[in-house]
């Protein structure tokens, strides 16, 4: 009878309804002598509350432009994480592989709202959830939907880079072909390279050797390759002049490649008998051990000419100053901007950055090689136009709020920040 009463009197609250029932039942039980029967009640303590809210909006997506080896998780951190006296100590990411048991894969700091799982396999499916960690326990979020990683064939994020690379490469090939057809190309004089013959000649006249140092990087550094291409030309001149070269190196592979380079140059000069393997010798891979050995050689052998070409680090000035102190004519070149000031201060000629890479083409004088240098100019033109556009766009956007310039600036940033 109580249910219809409650239904027909909606304003009659449960606070009134239950006491009536209790009074009726108590009265009845007393009347029928059943007072020994106790009412089974549960006490609810409303002072206990959840220590931290779980994370929300948990999403999982396939890693973009990869080999199917990553899944990315995003979530909104627990609302309690934003409190000043937050009880949240971090987040724990759980993973279920192929509907198996949940396993924790990483613990993250408070405030973190994303994670990339790079330990995934193509043929498996994954479900994730994130637990909010507090001193009193873990508070899990809902589970994500099941997902499997996917492979992509093209990295479209690098699309702009690909286009720029194609334009510059096409320009280089175009000028190489143009030069092959016999068109004269102007290449400015590079003082450091013009001085090579003179420097080798000086060593010959003085009866002293030429010291060639190809930096301290291995053959996987393009600067070392550039240095060896110059070595090919220099050793040819040395063979022609019947001068001497010695070359201490800090990498075994460079030793092998340099020997081959010098040997072939001596053969090309028609003097294979003048070559011997001891022209190039390995010292040590250790940076300052190498410096100590080369400095000692410089002071003892007193070479008339020193070439410092390749990748140099903290040893650049030590080597260059030692060379300077023995009165050698020094030609240096590196693509490490931090070392350039040292070479400029201590050497007679310095190949700055791109000049190191241009040296081989310049020295060969072959039209095809010079054509490749001309092709680089297209790249420089693109760089100059882009810088000018960028400066104009940022200026007009910041100073006058020109909308199209803001868009242009954003687009330029997007193009040149793709990686």
């Amino acid at each position: 009878m109580s249910l219809p009463l409650a239904a027909t009197h909606p304003r009659l609250s449960v606070h009134l309804f239950f006491p009536i029932i209790v009074i009726v039942l108590t009265t009845c039980s007393s009347a029928f002598g059943q007072s020994d029967t106790q009412l089974d009640t549960t006490v609810v303590d409303d002072t206990v509350s959840i220590a931290a809210a779980p994370v929300t909006t948990l999403l999982v997506e396939d890693g973009k432009y990869d080999d199917g080896d990553s899944l990315r998780l995003f979530w909104v951190p627990s609302i309690d994480d934003q409190l000043i006296d937050s009880k949240v100590t971090g987040y724990r990411v759980y993973r279920l592989v192929n509907d198996g048991a949940a396993e924790p894969i990483v613990d993250l700091l408070p405030g973190v709202g994303n994670y990339t799982d790079k330990n995934v396999e193509l043929d498996s499916s994954y479900v994730y959830y994130v637990a909010t960690l507090t001193e009193s326990g873990e508070y899990p979020s809902i589970h994500t939907e099941s997902i499997s990683p996917q492979r992509e064939w093209i990295n479209f994020r690098r699309g702009y880079l690909f286009i720029i690379m194609m334009i510059i490469s096409a320009a280089i090939i175009f000028y190489v072909e143009t030069a092959k057809r016999g068109k004269k190309l102007f290449v400015r004089k590079i003082a450091g390279l013009e001085a090579i013959d003179e420097a080798v000649g000086r060593a010959t006249e003085m009866g002293r050797p030429v010291l060639f140092i190809p930096g301290i990087s291995d053959m996987d550094d393009v600067q070392t390759l550039a240095a060896l291409t110059i070595l090919g030309r220099v050793s040819r001149t040395i063979a022609d002049y019947d001068s001497k070269i010695f070359m201490p190196v800090s990498r075994s592979l460079v030793m092998t490649a340099a020997r081959e380079t010098i040997k072939t140059s001596y053969q090309a000069a028609g003097r294979p008998d003048a070559y011997n393997d001891d022209m190039v010798n390995y010292v040590t891979d250790e940076q300052f051990g190498y410096v100590a050995a080369v400095d000692g050689l410089m002071v003892r052998e007193k070479p008339a000419t020193v070439f410092l070409l390749g990748a140099f680090f903290a040893e650049s000035l030590i080597l260059a100053e030692t060379g300077n102190s023995i009165g050698a004519i020094q030609i240096a070149g590196t693509a490490r901007p931090a070392q350039l000031p040292f070479f400029i201060a201590a050497c007679d000629f310095t190949l700055i950055g791109e000049e190191l890479f241009a040296a081989s083409a310049y020295l060969s004088g072959e039209p095809r090689m010079l054509g490749s240098l001309k092709g680089q100019d297209v790249g420089k033109a693109i760089a100059m136009i882009t810088i000018l556009l960028g400066v104009v766009a940022v200026t007009l956007s910041e100073a006058w709020g020109v909308g199209i310039m803001t868009d242009l600036h954003a687009w330029l940033v997007k193009v040149f920040s793709s990686s």
Binding site: D67, R151, E152, W153, I154, N155, R158, F162, M165, I168, I172, V176, D218, V222, L225, L228, T229, L231, G232, R233, R251, S252, M255, A257, E260, T261, T264, D277, D278, N281, Y282, E286, F288, A292, G296, R300, L317, I318, E321, A335, P337, P341, F342, A345, A346, G353, E354, E355, L356, F357, A358, S360, A361, S364, E366, R368, M369, S372, G375, Q376
Partner: protein, 216 residues
């Protein structure tokens, strides 16, 4: 054939490396690691050649009592000492507390640090030459260097503390470093980047052969 095969290998590997940068799919995704591993393997094998060469040259010099043979004798002794101790201590020869570790930390590192420390004196002598006001450019360099150096030490800040913020010596030093210096450095970097592209293309296309002993 002696040059063609290396050129072919270079072209294939070079093009492969360009492709793998834009294609994340297997097997391109693994190419960089594979080549890196192979480079390490070849390098590890080549170190034997290097060590043998070092020993050959040093032993020859010592045996024939050539000029300055004493240095070569020191090389032989040091090489043998480190090698024998390393082998005697087995796989954990680099662990802390081993004799090899002691020699490395208390002999090699101090020697290495000594060489590095010489740099301070060379910086002073090179700066003295570079900052002489021989012409307009050198004078400009001298003035810029003066302001950068004094602006980066506490005394510079103290000397110009009466000036408004933004016009103090430290601000001037920061401006020199972040505007003209950074602009010049970026120009060099752009040139280097293009130079690398051009050199790489010449090597991949086989135009550049000097590094394998070819070319005119």
């Amino acid at each position: 054939m002696r040059q063609e095969i290396p050129l072919l290998i270079t072209a294939i590997v070079g093009i492969g490396f360009v492709i793998q940068y834009f294609i994340p799919h297997w097997p391109f995704s693994r190419m960089s690691d594979w080549f890196s591993d192979w480079f390490s393997i070849v390098g590890a094998c080549a170190i034997i050649l290097g060590a043998l060469n070092l020993m050959k040259v040093s032993i020859e010099k010592t045996y024939k009592r050539k000029e300055d043979w004493g240095y070569a004798a020191v090389i032989i002794a040091s090489f043998l000492l480190m090698t024998i101790i390393g082998i005697a201590e087995g796989r954990g020869f680099r662990n802390p507390g081993t004799s090899f570790d002691w020699l490395y930390n208390f002999v090699y590192i101090p020697l290495s640090a000594t060489m590095f420390a010489i740099l301070a004196f060379f910086v002073a002598s090179a700066s003295y030459r570079a900052f002489r006001a021989r012409n307009f450019e050198a004078t400009l360099l001298l003035i810029a260097a003066f302001f950068v150096m004094i602006g980066r030490v506490p005394v510079g800040h103290t000397l110009s503390s009466f000036m408004p913020i933004g016009w103090q010596l430290s601000d001037l030093a920061s401006w020199v470093m972040t505007v003209p210096q950074a602009a010049g450095q970026r120009a060099i970097m752009i040139g280097i980047g293009l130079g690398i592209v051009s050199t790489s293309l010449r090597i991949i296309l086989g135009l550049e052969r000097a590094h394998i002993g070819g070319g005119k």
